[in-house]
Symmetry: C2
Subunit: 172 residues, 2 copies
């Protein structure tokens, strides 16, 4: 199984201004298209509750694991959507049950933090939009790492100055 992080951030390292701020208000169309192309090759997508609420439509056809503290274990809404409290569930077992080979970690921050804490992150696809927010939500705020990744590619993906960085787990 391969798990990859998909994230868009400002040049000052923010994935959002606030939990109610829609990502598509500031990210580029090229970032959106790239996200869709990665979702299309994902067998399962893990998102947090706030990210799910903001992006229900493009996520509606995926195998979706929505992390939330408002359930204690797993609550299946239908065959392709499960609410899940990662503190009380064996998430890896659930991913295996789904036969997931490629798992997309779509955020927000708490989901990114969980994935790095579990050492699940094999690849990172990071889009940097040419904006500064100042105050906002960082990609991560917890964990104490000095974790090195291997840069696979760097590319400017539009005329507006959006940059896509691709990393993979560094060989140790």
């Amino acid at each position: 199984m391969t798990c990859f992080v998909l994230a868009a951030m400002t040049l000052d390292g923010k994935i959002s201004k606030s939990s109610s701020f829609l990502t598509t208000e500031w990210t580029s169309e090229e970032d959106f298209l790239f996200m869709r192309s990665k979702l299309d090759v994902s067998d399962a997508v893990i998102v947090g509750r706030a990210t799910y609420d903001l992006a229900k439509e493009p996520l509606s056809v995926r195998n979706l694991l929505v992390f939330t503290q408002s359930v204690s274990g797993i609550q299946r809404e239908h065959g392709r959507l499960a609410w899940m409290n990662p503190a009380g569930v064996d998430v890896m077992a659930e991913l295996k049950r789904l036969g997931a080979e490629r798992v997309c970690i779509l955020g927000g921050r708490a989901v990114y933090e969980w994935a790095f804490e579990q050492d699940l992150v094999d690849e990172v696809y990071l889009t940097i939009e040419p904006l500064v927010f100042g105050k906002g939500i960082s990609l991560m705020d917890h964990g104490d790492y000095l974790k090195r990744f291997s840069l696979k590619s760097v590319e400017q993906i539009n005329d507006s100055g959006t940059v896509l960085l691709q990393y993979s787990r560094a060989l140790t």
Copy 2:
């Protein structure tokens, strides 16, 4: 006068793990050489107290303005070094007095925040090291912007996967 921000950050948007963590412990030699090349063409450098304490030696020959709250106005140590409380000093007047044409904003976070708040930032040179810290000090934590910059170049500067992004103030 042109003011530019020089910053190195992790791929999760951190400029340091803590205020006592030496930048050169995790940044690349190529980032250090790039920083030196930009300092060499700077007429004045603005740093915060913690950054100055960590980098006295490479900074010792510059026109240095060290921001600190421990003085109330300006306290000149010698011709090339002045301690300064930006809340009580006309910093721009001081830069003009020095005849500074190119001013380097070297950080840390509070100095970056000050420069963006004053709308002084004409250029940003951002090095992204292929590391994840988790908890740490963000490039900025204050201010409420949706400030767009113009990407001038993007370049991988070494085999370790360090990327250098160059931005300038977007035309409005």
